[in-house]
């Protein structure tokens, strides 16, 4: 018997009991809107055509890129325009105050009133933004606690796609504003910068058939293994492995504990990349295969265990310290690290001031078995920002106008202000109009406003020699291996009882890597997964598959 059938009966009787009291009014309202519940199944999302709730795509051409996009790769600009244009006609804010919860994977900047960057931007947009910045590595846990009490939910909540909490369908419905009536179709024309964001990115923001989120346009190739090109050049070691064995040999060459240098951080993301482990599901002969059941997952785990056993992983990474991973890479204690594509820029930016010779490069794409690499595309909107539900339409429109401001594309005055602060205070420009952050800028300018939404992603940081060219050509090059995952851009809200289903694997991945568990224990874990709800989960997803 499915224990989840009992609650529904209990809920009915409870409702009739409570119907007399005033407290039941929101309760009934919550029940009435059908598709919100996780039990609603595919009909919830399928009843509404996703394309009818997302905004029209109206591209804006401000500056033509030097490296145009190839199959969705990130375009690059080698120079800044002579004149920055204004993309927003009027000041977007009306003097209201807003709180926003955002992540950050680098040093947290000073808050108001000590942060002159935020003071300047707040004045410019005529809105008082207060950011609650949380370490990105601990974001998911903080988020659970914040969302659990409605009164603690800020006006804007940024949620990374990989930390969407369980029962998010309910959260969206009860906590956040439905943006469909404001943005769907041609409504978007009121916000031209938001209309400049691709339909793929918007599609990711549709939950249960309604548009809830503001997208954060992201690099389509998001998982990369980086190496310190400056260090390997000094060591005279070439980094061009063509299979897993060569990668291991390279790692052994790079490791020298006596010199306080190890080859890598925890390479789990990298191992999954080499062996083409899907994010969630794989389609084999028309059947859904979960990532943990896949052969690729097993191979990646075995290789991961080999790396740890070979002693090429930094001891602090072995001890599970991920917070310092980037720091170890920047300081040269490790030479290889997996990271997001965006990490290229943020690490370079962090390292460059202290080490102008700093040069990180992606390890050229290769497959673990030496064949053709398979790289699953990352989600076109890697994070979302949700707006707290409000009955105040004017306030909501103000929030959307502000989002429109934050989405100002490259080459605009707004984008310059958001990325580099004020000229003469936070950045200086050279004769080619290229901005360089001043000391104040380095301390105070951090991604905050542009978590809420940002323009289509481009590489334009010509301050770092060869970065734009390297980045844009690298990504254009790997797009030939890019594959759409099953359910690409589709937001499927899983029933909550499946929330902890993958938990044993997270522990097992760490245990197998560190030799505390044997790879044979994977079979038992898969068996448990199947009987504890994995098969039901597969059926749940298969219904969405039939719809496609």
């Amino acid at each position: 018997m499915n224990p989840h059938q009992r609650p529904r009966i209990a809920r009915r009787s409870f409702l009739t009991l409570a119907a007399g009291s005033a407290a039941s009014v929101p309760l009934l309202a919550a029940c009435g809107s059908g598709p919100g519940g996780p039990d609603a199944g595919p009909s919830g999302g399928g009843a509404v055509d996703v394309d009818s709730v997302i905004p029209d795509y109206i591209p804006r051409d401000i500056v033509t890129p030097d490296f145009p996009s190839v199959d969705g790769s990130t375009p690059g600009y080698l120079s800044f325009p002579d004149e920055f244009v204004a993309s927003v006609d009027e000041v977007p804010g009306r003097g209201s105050s807003f709180t926003a919860m955002t992540p950050l994977w680098s040093t947290v900047p000073p808050g108001l009133p000590d942060n002159s960057y935020m003071v300047t931007v707040n004045e410019e947009i005529n809105a008082d933004f207060r950011f609650q910045i949380t370490d990105g590595n601990a974001y998911g846990e903080k988020l659970q606690a914040v969302l659990a009490a409605e009164s603690s939910v800020p006006d804007f909540v940024t949620i990374p796609s990989w930390t969407l909490p369980p029962r998010f369908g309910q959260a969206a419905e009860n906590l956040f504003a439905d943006l469909t009536p404001y943005l769907a179709g041609d409504k978007i024309t009121a916000y031209p910068n938001l209309a400049n964001i691709s339909s793929e990115a918007w599609r990711c923001c549709v939950f249960d058939g309604k548009l809830y989120g503001l997208p954060y346009p992201s690099d389509l190739i998001n998982s990369v293994i980086f190496y310190r090109h400056d260090l390997t050049t000094d060591l005279g070691i070439e980094v061009a492995p063509t299979n897993a064995q060569e990668f291991l040999d390279l790692a052994l060459d790079l490791t020298d504990p006596g010199a306080n240098r190890w080859a890598m951080n925890d390479m789990w993301a990298g191992a999954q990349l080499m062996f083409g482990v899907p994010d969630k599901w794989l389609l084999e002969g028309g059947n859904l295969v979960h990532r943990v059941e896949s052969e690729a997952y097993r191979q990646a785990l075995e290789f991961q265990a080999e790396l740890f056993a070979a002693g090429v992983v930094h001891p602090d990474a072995v001890a599970g310290n991920e917070q310092q991973a980037r720091q170890r890479f920047i300081s040269g204690e490790v030479v290889l690290t997996p990271d997001g594509a965006g990490g290229w820029l943020s690490a370079t930016r962090e390292a460059y001031a202290g080490n102008p010779g700093y040069n990180q490069q992606p390890v050229p794409a290769f497959a673990g078995d030496g064949g053709t690499p398979v790289i699953y595309k990352g989600t076109p909107s890697n994070l979302f920002t949700f707006i707290k539900r409000t009955d105040d339409t004017e306030r909501l429109e103000e929030q959307l106008a502000l989002a429109n401001y934050f989405a100002a594309p490259f080459g605009t005055k707004e984008q310059m202000l958001l990325e580099y602060g004020a000229e003469g205070v936070h950045h200086e420009r050279d004769e080619a109009n290229v901005p360089t952050l001043t000391e104040t800028g380095l301390r105070e300018v951090a991604r905050t406003y542009t978590w809420i939404t940002r323009p289509p992603i481009v590489a334009s940081q010509v301050q770092y020699p060869s970065y734009v060219e390297d980045f844009a050509t690298w990504m254009a090059g790997v797009m030939e291996y890019a594959v759409d995952p099953v359910f690409y851009t589709q937001q499927i809200v899983e029933p909550p009882e499946f929330g902890a289903l993958e938990q044993p694997f997270i522990d097992l991945e760490m245990d197998i890597a560190r030799g505390r568990a044997d790879i044979s224990q994977l079979d038992g874990a898969i068996e448990n997964w199947r009987s504890a709800g994995g098969e039901q989960l597969r059926e749940f997803y298969a219904e969405y598959l039939d719809e496609q």
Partner: protein, 329 residues
């Protein structure tokens, strides 16, 4: 002190005011009289009562979610009752029992290897005669108590970790590095020594206070009777400490299922869930991280109930052996 004379004394006390009470409104008068007499004491209790009510008893009502399929997004009113379903899931979950087992192992180990350390230290320090040396030692061993676990674990990591001082030294001598922070087999030793380093000095305070009440002449008398140092400890010092030791032991038993949440969660990834998953981390992961709040509440309730039984049981045993225990009947 045995139970019998106490009970007798209580009877006496209860009987004492009776003769003074006039006959007619039998119940009201003594109450009012007592209020008039004791109101300063009651007022003094009030802040604590309010504190307990607001931060302990009121949140306890939230435990009702253990019988629900609770979702924070619809609230307690909107969630469904599911009876004992969550408890059934907890009891059927091997990960829960694994956490219980780890918890008990850690508690048992620390009872034997941590609990006596402050006692021994107190006795040792008490025998140091120079007051200045004694105060200096006291300050030094108290200090680590005021470090948070994050700092303690970092210090251990910096010194004993894979890239820490000890291993750097070993490597520079061409020796094999030792795995201390990431070895699940020696994890018990590691966390216990961390605890000794952090809290043994602090735990000493109570025992030192108890020792200061011992009449010096008892030692002199014992020495005159020819008792050596060991016999003086055995016959004078330890009996003086006994009520305190028993009190703390009972309190410790009540906490038996609570073993350093912060300390363990900080090091869980380093040694894996196999060695470091205890009840508190289990509740945290299933509740906060995976959002199964009801399930976590049920697991927490089971833990609380068992702890209560342990305290009551231990107290009972203390009474049987004629000790005061935590409270008296």
């Amino acid at each position: 002190m045995t139970a019998a004379p106490q009970a007798a004394r209580r009877r006496e006390r209860a009987a004492a005011p009776a003769p003074q009470v006039p006959t007619s409104p039998r119940r009201k008068r003594p109450m009012r009289a007592r209020l008039r007499e004791d109101y300063p004491l009651l007022l003094m209790c009030l802040p604590v009562v309010i504190l307990l009510a607001v931060f302990m008893y009121a949140p306890m009502l939230g435990n009702v979610i253990a019988w629900m399929d609770y979702s924070p997004y619809v609230g307690i009113l909107g969630s469904d009752f599911v009876g004992w379903w969550n408890f059934q899931r907890v009891v059927a979950d091997p990960r829960f029992w694994h956490a219980v087992q780890n918890t008990l192992i850690i508690t048992g180990f620390q009872l034997v290897f941590f609990f006596p350390v402050p006692i021994a230290m107190a006795i040792l320090l008490n025998s140091v005669l120079t007051k200045r040396v004694r105060t200096a030692i006291q300050s030094i061993v108290y200090l680590p108590h005021f470090f948070s676990w994050v700092i303690v674990v970092s210090i251990f990591q910096q010194i004993l970790g894979g890239a820490g001082l000890v291993n750097q030294f070993l490597r520079s001598r061409g020796l094999e590095a030792v795995e201390i922070m990431t070895n699940p087999d020696t994890f018990l030793l590691l966390i216990t020594s961390q605890q000794v380093w952090k809290d043994a000095g602090w735990g000493m305070i109570v025992f030192l206070a108890a020792l200061s009440t011992v009449d010096r002449s008892q030692y002199e008398a014992a020495a005159v009777d020819g008792a050596g140092a060991w016999r003086r400890i055995w016959h004078v010092t330890l009996p003086a400490l006994r009520p305190v030791i028993i009190l703390l032991l009972i309190l410790r038993l009540g906490d038996a299922l609570t073993v350093g949440f912060e300390q363990l969660i900080l090091q869980r990834d380093a040694v894996g869930a196999g060695a470091a998953e205890v009840l508190d981390t289990f509740v945290y992961y299933s509740g906060i991280v995976y959002g199964d709040w009801s399930y976590a509440a049920a697991a927490g309730l089971i833990k609380g109930t068992v702890s209560l039984i342990l305290v009551l049981g231990a107290n009972k045993i203390a009474h049987v052996f004629g000790e005061a225990g935590v409270y008296q009947r």
